[in-house]
Amino acid sequence: MKVAVCVKQIPDPADPGEIDPNTKTLKRDTKLILDESDSYGVEMALQLVGDDGEVVLVSMVPNNERNGLNNALAMGAHSALLVSDDALSGSDALGTAKVLAAAIKRVGADLVLAATESSDGYTGTVPEQVAELLGLPSVTFAKEVSVDGGNVAVKRQTEDGYDEVTCPLPALVSVTAGVVEPRYPSFKGIMAAKSKPVEELGLADLGIDAASVGWAGGGQEIVSIEPAPAREAGEIIEDEGDGHERIVAFLQELKVI
């Protein structure tokens, strides 16, 4: 079985960066890392293919950055497709999905995995858009995934529990954090990652019209960026054995008790 995993490389969330007021895009000066959300997809794929399958990573990123990709290769993925192109700057979720779908088509996977949402964009729409563009069925919000013959079985998170869903392959599944416990790359894995095949592609290689992606293809514009109304600062006190009394008094004031 061949599984393609969408992996996004993002600025470290611990260092959130800022929006460049001129280009209205997120400034990305720091080294990109593997989005933690996608480490679950990588682990899931590795477990599903076992010893005789193949895990191919697909990532769209500026400037052929591959630091995050290396991490996923070190975990054990076999190869990667990396898409970069200046014309992709400003791409929204749909633009991203067009690129990922074209790359996945080239790979030809039985199963496509993505995270339910990325840590920096968190639109949560890319996987479903990719599925539609590829004409695939999909199951989002998976908290458990297994493959049996030509079908994938998924426990799908719902508002008040979960649904059991089955779906014939090929299909796309988006996984939640916690679907499996991602492994740490071993030293051997880190060394091996260096010689794994990474194909670098541009839009032309994928046959995508530059006008359909990036700012040009976006179909939306940011009209303004403003500070949000801040909450008024409250009262902060040190507990000297009376902290609970202050809370009780406050709750009484609010007529909660």
Binding site: E18, A93, L94, E117, Y122, T123, G124, T125, E128, Q129, A131, E132, L133, G135, L136, P137, T140, K143, R156, T158, G161, Y162, D163, E164, V165, T166, C167, P168, A171, T176, A177, G178, G218, G219, Q220, E221, I222, V223, I225, E226, P227, A228, R231, G234, E235, I236, I237, E238, D239, G241, G243, H244, E245, R246, I247, V248, F250, L254, V256, I257
Partner: protein, 316 residues
């Protein structure tokens, strides 16, 4: 004013709260048509009408199929002839799927994580970023319907006393492979007490509790206050409590009258899920914890001292 379509989600014959919230906004913006997949639209027409929908268009039962491809395709077809101004979805499991499928079908973008929509020479979606300190205001260009994904609790649901919505059919085209995922069974995880996203009081615990065994303090306090117990993702990932307890960006959005955060640092992703609470009480031993920046009452202290004393003080 144009026509606004609202994705109507239902559960066992009642309309979900997020749908009623969307209707409250939609009726300010234009004529409202509810679009609905699965189940019996007749059953919910009265409630939808009461909240401002003139019409409800429904696919009827999907026979185990997921709403994304079915409703997405049906709406894409209908949008071509009806040209609604905007289509509003809640950020829910189903809402995201339908919006994503529809977007790809129409080759039109989705504006996501919206907390408000204003009409200013076209509809503008307002998205909070950086933990809610900054708003990004985005507008659609071009002539396609504007697809918005709106966060729960962004608007107040309020009935207007309208008459039942007129019921019409929504035709699902042949889906081929995209429609082949099927729900084979459904499981409901029961919890007692009020629901997390509906409770008037929410008490949440985080990693500062130290160990799973201490989470009972959160439950005890919630019970005493007639509220619901919640959690940060740190302790959900650690397996102390189920995912359904999680408050935040990838969990539930809550807006209770009182939110009590105990041993929670106040990461951006947690705050976006509870920042809208009317009042916030935080207990944390670190005076620099970001949660204090949004707390109405902050207690710098040890949860292992403050919580037991508080529970005892509240008596029986």
């Amino acid at each position: 004013m144009g026509t606004i379509w609202v994705h109507a989600e239902t559960n066992n014959g009642t309309v979900s709260t997020i749908t009623l919230e969307l209707l409250a906004k939609a009726r300010e913006l234009g004529d409202v048509v509810a679009v609905h997949a699965g189940g019996d639209a007749e059953q919910v027409a009265a409630e939808l009408g009461e909240h401002g929908a003139g019409k409800v268009l429904s696919t009827g039962d999907l026979d185990g199929g997921l709403p994304g491809p079915a409703l997405g395709s049906a709406l894409a077809d209908l949008a071509a002839s009806e040209a609604p101004q905007a289509i509003l979805f809640g950020t829910t499991y189903g809402g995201r799927d339908v919006a994503g499928r529809l977007s790809a079908k129409l080759d039109a973008p989705v504006i996501t994580n919206i907390v408000d929509i204003v009409d200013s020479d076209g509809l503008v979606g307002i998205e909070p970023v950086f933990g809610g300190t900054t708003n990004v205001n985005t507008k659609f260009t071009g002539s396609k319907p504007g697809i918005f994904l709106v966060r729960p609790k962004s608007f107040n649901a309020e009935p207007t006393g309208g008459s039942p919505a007129e019921v019409g059919a929504l035709t699902v085209p042949e889906l081929g492979a995209t429609g082949s995922a099927k729900v084979v069974s459904q499981f409901v995880e029961e919890s007692d007490g009020p629901k997390l996203d509906e409770a008037g009081v929410v008490v949440s615990g985080g990693r500062g509790l130290g160990e799973a065994d201490k989470y009972h303090m959160i439950e005890d306090l919630a019970k005493k206050l007639g509220g619901a117990a919640g959690a940060s993702r740190a302790i959900v990932d650690a397996g102390w409590v189920p995912y359904s307890y999680q408050v935040g960006q990838t969990g539930k959005v809550v807006k209770p009258d009182v939110y009590i955060a105990a041993g929670i640092s106040g990461a951006t992703q947690h705050m976006v899920g509870m920042k809208g609470s009317k009042t916030i009480i935080a207990i944390n031993k670190d005076p620099e914890a970001p949660i204090f920046s949004i707390a109405d009452l902050g207690i710098i202290g040890d949860v292992h001292k403050v919580l037991p004393a508080l529970i005892a003080a509240l008596g029986e």
